[in-house]
Symmetry: none
Subunit: 81 residues, 2 copies
DNA sequence: AGATATTTGTTCGTATGTATC
DNA sequence: GGATACATACGAACAAATATC
């Protein structure tokens, strides 16, 4: 369990952790990232907070989401077009 | 987007707008009124402010609320009993 | 076809903290 | 101190999509 700082919202801190894991390749392109339920368990946060985390990552293009399925790491765009 | 006056709280001004719409039949009895999230978007207010709006309308009997569903325009009472 | 479980989407209820007036 | 207003956070409930059995 991580210890949350008080100088930043929890949802931002969790988002930063997931962003790091994606960058490190722990979560690979196309593979599923933890569900909101998983995040609740791992970080001890409420579901709406987990939802906010995923929405942030989705809006910055790091993941995409399919209802009923989960969220997945986006394919990296290499800008070759 | 409406422009808020400074002589009255925002939640009262938004409540007045919704009250007007109900009176005008834009929101009809039994039909759903905008969610708190909708009000956040339309009026550019915080969720707690939107919640305060709905509570005011609920307390005056203009609407009723079901958790997880939303709020609905009350059925008019014609006093025929 | 139906039931069940999982997962995300959305809704309201509530509490706390901060800042401003 | 109180009212207003914002953001954050947790809780609870309903809904829809997906997959499996």
């Amino acid at each position: 369990m991580i210890e949350f700082r008080e100088d930043q919202p929890r949802w931002q801190q969790v988002a930063a952790v997931l962003r790091q894991r994606i960058g490190d390749g722990i979560y690979r392109p196309g593979s599923r990232v933890p569900s909101e339920n998983d995040l609740m368990q791992e970080f001890g946060i409420a579901r709406m907070t987990a939802h906010k985390v995923m929405r942030a990552l989705r809006e910055e293009g790091a993941i995409y989401t399919v209802r009923g399925m989960g969220s997945f790491v986006s394919q990296p765009s290499d800008g070759s077009d």
